[in-house]
Amino acid sequence: MGDIRDSHESDLALFQPILQTGRWFTITAGALGAVVAWAIFAWLYQLTHGLGVTGLNRPIYWGLYITNFVFFIGISHAGTLISAILRLCQAEWRRAITRSAEVITVLVLFFGVGNVVLDLGRPDRALYVLWYGNPRSPLLWDVTSIATYLTASTIYLYLPLIPDIALLRDRVPKWRGLYRLLALGWTGSERQHRRLETAISIMAVIVIPIAVSVHTVVSWVFAMTIQPMWHSTIFGPYFVVGAIFSGIAALIIAMAIIRRAYHLEDYLKPVHFNNLGLLLLVMSLLWFYFTFAEHLTTYYGGEPREMAVFSAKLFGKYAPFFWAMVVTNFVVPLVILSNRRTRTVAGTVVASASVTVGMWLERLTIVVPSLANPRLPYARGLYMPTWVEWSMMAGFFSMFILLYMCFTKLFPIVSIWEIREGREKGLAETRERIESYLPPGEGVSRE
């Protein structure tokens, strides 16, 4: 530990979470673990009794689990996609935030998949999707694209981790074997660096279309049916926009917690929250545009079966959820984020929390009202989730936070080598790049 202080005084804060574990970490981990244990109990209860322990019924065959599935897959767009776009755009302010974003993706994708397994009547047969796969089924497309995304974003998380793992291997007494294994013999030579940069760039390019495909396909699970207000061409882009929207919100919240818990104020600065806040604002406007376009089209067409769902959402049983969604996804972020004075760390966190709730409500108001108002108007239902479903939801959220916390104990949550590279090379490169954008002139040449 001593040698870290000696040679890396400047970035000590980034090693600190791995070296020291505070009391609060243990308390929080214990509390989250208890919730997860409770959820496991609820799951075993569901496994022994069947899906009847949920509030699902006919015709509302999908409820909280599928809502959470869509929500989690959406959140997963925080990481890889945002990080890839920022890397490709050479946005220098990305350096401190890419890692924390990419971890969200990898963890949360598992939870998306987990919710689907939870929703199966026969989870013991889940692998039949592979054995007997029906290529015409959007669910199979889903399995394919999510598996691809999971693979690609795991690689994309791992590659930029390698130099940091090597740092830990050489300087941290704990987990030596693990670090040695994962560092793949990284020495930090110029050649290795060149190869790594190439690999990261290639992955960044590959990951973007995959990420877009993932949420498009999730939307197609609904849109490919002929159910009222599901059968919509706008769903693909609408879901992708919603996914990026909720993803950025989740990222801002995660960054604020990391910043506070590990005293990383020097790394995660107000400028990061400001920039991500602006991105969130743009996504909020886009989300509103899509929502407005979708609902106006339905209303103007006035097709009776669609209007039944429309009315249930806007004025009926689901109106409280719908209007709460409009407030949390549009009004709150718009008010907070369009004002420079409220676009602070605290302000963006409040807006993000609001968006997270709002996007969950969006998923719910897409899944349930259409099922509750089927075309043939004889089977009508009400849906109220049971304690089992709420417990599973709490369990997934707790497990996510818990695993995220564990990650910060094993690996630096801010990419150390990329920060250093920023100091050493990025500054000069950026100046050169900006100069190359500009016509030669007095101001530029003098600086």
């Binding site: 006919r58 054995w131 099922l371 043939l376």
Partner: protein, 233 residues
């Protein structure tokens, strides 16, 4: 190959529910009890839906028995991730219970909401003694639905084979059709221009549910006058 279809004369149906009971007994349909029924979990491969029309005191009630439509272009089979629900060679929409993973995508894709799910391990009241040995009992967690009493077709085919003759139209009739006291239900080969169902399906009284969706249901209804929503279909 025959294209099995059903014709239900709504002007003859008096809503007696005999078809529902016959189907229940024939197909070992589990009983979920009043509490689960209240929650919307009753399983009934054929249901007699009642449509109340008009305002008091000029109220009319109409009945519409609703089995699986066995669509020629079924929306449910396309979406099934494992091919557990599929359209078989005889054009019937079938369900392979041991392959169903219980994702309920098919139930959600079906615009007629005619697919059912086994929320719990199936149970029957103690009064029920014995089951129809020709029909499998569905386990917990899978989707089940009307099969047009497919097992009866199997039996009829075997019988015809033993007797070394072609399958005759009257050899195969689902339990609901056989039971209907008012003889409001007909069953047969829609592709045979001489058959009763084929003739009736071309009647001016004939319509199908949600025909505009292009699902091509093989269940036809007959009715004089108008049906739900002010028009037929």
């Amino acid at each position: 190959m025959a294209r099995w279809g059903m014709v239900i004369d709504l002007d003859k149906c008096d809503g007696c529910q005999a078809c529902v009971v016959a189907c229940r007994v024939e197909n070992n349909v589990p009983v979920v009890g009043p509490e689960q029924t209240e929650m919307g979990r009753a399983i009934s491969w054929i249901e007699v839906l009642s449509v109340i029309e008009g305002e008091y005191p000029h109220v009319k009630i109409r009945f519409i028995p609703r089995p699986c439509m066995h669509c020629d272009r079924p929306p449910c089979t396309a979406v099934c991730p494992t091919g557990a629900t599929y359209k078989n060679d005889e054009g019937l929409v079938a369900q392979i219970y041991p392959r169903c993973i219980g994702c309920r995508y098919c139930t959600n894709a079906c615009p007629y909401t005619v697919k059912f799910f086994n929320w719990f391990k199936p149970e029957w009241p103690p009064q029920v003694h014995g089951f129809n040995p020709d029909v499998a009992i569905r386990p917990v967690g899978v989707v089940e639905k009307c099969t047009f009493c497919h097992h009866r077709l199997q039996k009829a085919k075997e019988q015809a084979k033993i007797e070394k003759r072609e399958l005759r139209e009257e050899d195969y009739v689902p339990a609901c059709v056989q039971t209907c006291p008012t003889k409001a239900m007909y069953f047969g080969d829609l592709d045979d221009p001489e058959s009763t169902v084929s003739r009736l399906s071309r009647s001016t009284r004939a319509f199908r549910l949600l025909e505009e969706l292009g699902t091509e249901p093989k269940v036809y209804y007959l009715s004089e006058g108008e049906w739900y929503g002010g028009h037929k279909g």
